[in-house]
Symmetry: C2
Subunit: 416 residues, 2 copies
């Protein structure tokens, strides 16, 4: 079967492309060309709506969920998946490493309708329990299983070599390597004294991805973990390498997202870095985690990441990974997943106003606010008005200014 990318390249507009064009309110031709040229990917999930991510489309939000080796509560993780989708996450990443992984995966897929992604090396490691025992064929086996299970995109970390690791070691970064999947890949390489496993079997991975038209997400191992760690040579090496691999994958008909610039980046560097990255990658879909422009917002990283995400999206990032208040501290609770998703959606929305101009929803909120039509405002609110109703409580009037309301006072003079 031909993949979307192959069909787009042949000039065909498929049902998935039409659906994405419709939901993004752009032309079908725009989608076809974007897919053909690798600027847009379409994540497919059998039985559900396809999702477009990339240049010229609305900024998308991903929520990471999943158990860790030392915190397992399957039902909570399933609930997080449900809550993430409810509050508007466009995709969900199942990063589970503890408990009954097979059960969790099935339940997470059952609980959601959005595309779900996975990082196969997580599960491979948690099943093998050591880098020594984790074989390359095991990693491939998990990856293949995920693809056949209906996962929409697969994260791998092929963009670095032992030489890159040596460069990181010499640089003495404050935070070294903070990517989980990247560090597992690195430790596998160091343990087995072997080059990057994903690079070694890249063609085979392409075949697997091609077989189900699954999107490959090229991971960002070298991202910085402190705002003091600069956009250094290892980061740029990885970006260039991932770009080459993306070209190869696209040639093979496989869609690719490039992960980059996540982590911790000073605010002033975010926009120029995004522009630089987009240029290097040939405007491929850019996936960014955070970024966090400061490190002092411990417990409030979702707010700091909202600033970083808004700056990144405004400058051309296409896909944001949420950060929850529990970042750096713990697995998030269900409530923190909700907070993280909403903060990230605010970032995406702000970014979209910079990329595409203001939205009708913002205009409508103003119009309803002028009339003090509360339900009208809530209808257009990001969370459907849940928090607004909760904060207002049972009062009929707005207690904020009470009878001395600026709006009411001026309304007669200014006209309705």
């Amino acid at each position: 079967m031909k993949t979307l990318l192959e069909q787009a390249r042949e000039g065909l507009i498929t049902e998935a492309m039409k659906a994405v064009a419709k939901s993004e309110r752009v032309s079908e031709k725009f989608i076809r060309e974007g897919v053909a040229e690798g600027r847009i990917v379409i994540l497919q999930r059998p039985g559900f709506s396809p999702l477009g991510i990339g240049k010229g489309l609305r900024t998308k939000v991903n929520a990471n969920i999943g158990s860790s080796s030392d915190a397992v509560d399957e039902e909570k993780e399933i609930e997080k998946a449900r809550v993430a989708e409810k509050y508007g996450a466009h995709t969900i990443s199942d990063l589970s490493m503890g408990g009954n992984l097979a059960y969790l995966r099935v339940k997470i897929l059952e609980a959601t309708t959005v595309p779900v992604s996975s990082v196969p090396i997580y599960q491979a490691l948690s099943e093998c329990r050591s880098f020594e025992k984790m074989s390359l064929s095991k990693i491939l086996k998990v990856l293949r299983r995920d693809v056949y299970q209906g996962i929409s995109s697969i994260v791998i970390h092929p963009g670095f070599t032992l030489e890159t690791l040596e460069k990181v070691r010499k640089r003495k970064r404050i935070m070294g390597i903070v990517s989980k999947g990247g560090s597992y890949t690195a430790m596998w390489m160091l343990t087995h004294r072997r080059e990057n496993p994903f690079l070694e079997v890249f063609d085979e991975i392409l075949d697997i991805a091609h077989s189900r038209d699954v999107v490959l997400s090229l991971g960002n191992t070298m991202r910085s973990g402190s705002v003091y760690d600069e956009l250094d040579e290892p980061q740029m090496d990885e970006l260039h390498m991932n770009t080459e691999l993306a070209e190869k994958a696209n040639e093979r008909g496989v869609q690719v997202i490039i992960e980059g610039l996540g982590g911790h980046i000073p605010a002033g560097n975010i926009a120029p870095s995004v522009e630089k990255f987009n240029k290097i990658t040939g405007q491929r879909p850019l996936y960014v985690a955070g970024p966090l422009p400061v490190d002092v917002a411990v417990g409030y990283d979702h707010i700091a990441a909202c600033v970083g995400g808004a700056l990144a999206a405004g400058a051309g990032a296409d896909y944001l990974c949420y950060i929850t208040p529990a970042e750096h501290l713990n697995l998030p609770t269900v409530e923190q997943v909700k907070e993280g998703v909403l903060a990230c959606r605010i970032a995406a929305h702000i970014g979209d106003t910079v990329k595409y101009g203001l939205s009708e929803a913002d205009r409508n909120i103003g119009l309803h606010r002028r009339k003090q039509d509360w339900e009208g405002q809530f209808f257009h609110a990001l969370d459907g008005g849940e928090k607004g109703r909760q904060i207002r409580g049972e009062t009929v009037m707005c207690k904020m200014c009470g009878r001395y309301c600026a709006l009411k006072i001026m309304d007669q003079y200014l006209g309705g």
Copy 2:
């Protein structure tokens, strides 16, 4: 007695200037020149540390508290003042309009050590209960009382005329006028068919402010209340008028803060607008409320305002007014005051990294994070680690990644 501005102009470096120089880690000369030229103001509060606000200094955060006509719980408001200071608000505005105002003011001053500001027309209106009954001499009486009571800065709205109001009326903005103090001033003018009261007695106000060296904050009546309402002629008229009045006040030896650009502004317009405003005002201290770059974050406006505030501060705003999650909905609870203050401090901190470069605190968090030294991180966290400790709970290790921690895994190879 001579004011700080007069002494600075004469080349004198006072104790207050020395204290500000020390806390801001700049030279005393820098402070003296800034004060002399109106780029820096020093808010004084008898018995407590002076606070510098303006160009070249750290971005400051204000928290609005106070009862409304229809929501009065004096003890809660006093608690809000305490909590706002505890979580790092540099100033507090008492905007009370309901209950025992005299009692509230005294208690708020007792509960805090930071400079407190007031908007005299609020209290005048709540005491007179109608625009008809509120005389100009009453407004002045309240203003004088506030100044003599130890209020550090007074907000007035002198920067518009009946002609400006007519322009607003003709423009048919979505949200008209959303400034409370501004709308009261406007309604007074319309009710009494008289020009701006603060303009009429501006010289007298200068005398009063001069007598206690209280800072005048020139209010921002014309700010927009919807991201769809543009930076229009009324806003620019007010800015030019406030700048002229600031020049006059500075000549008289009175320090001035210019309020501007608060409200709702599309993200892409914030930085250029701040630069434009600073140019027009001659780099006077710029006070910004929010701004909110989107309207859809109902119930989460503190997060949207963090993005707007970070952009504004990074571009040269000097003083941010916090926005709480209850903005547009209700008076904030004590907890929401805390959330608002912290979100605004994140904005100020991000802005400062753009203006002045990264902070040692951010570096230290990274260094402690690398070592998984939790208390070390918390010590440098914006809230002193309260939220971080709460999220981590009783666990010794970080549950986020459990035994498969990227940092620990890589640490041996990358070196300590």
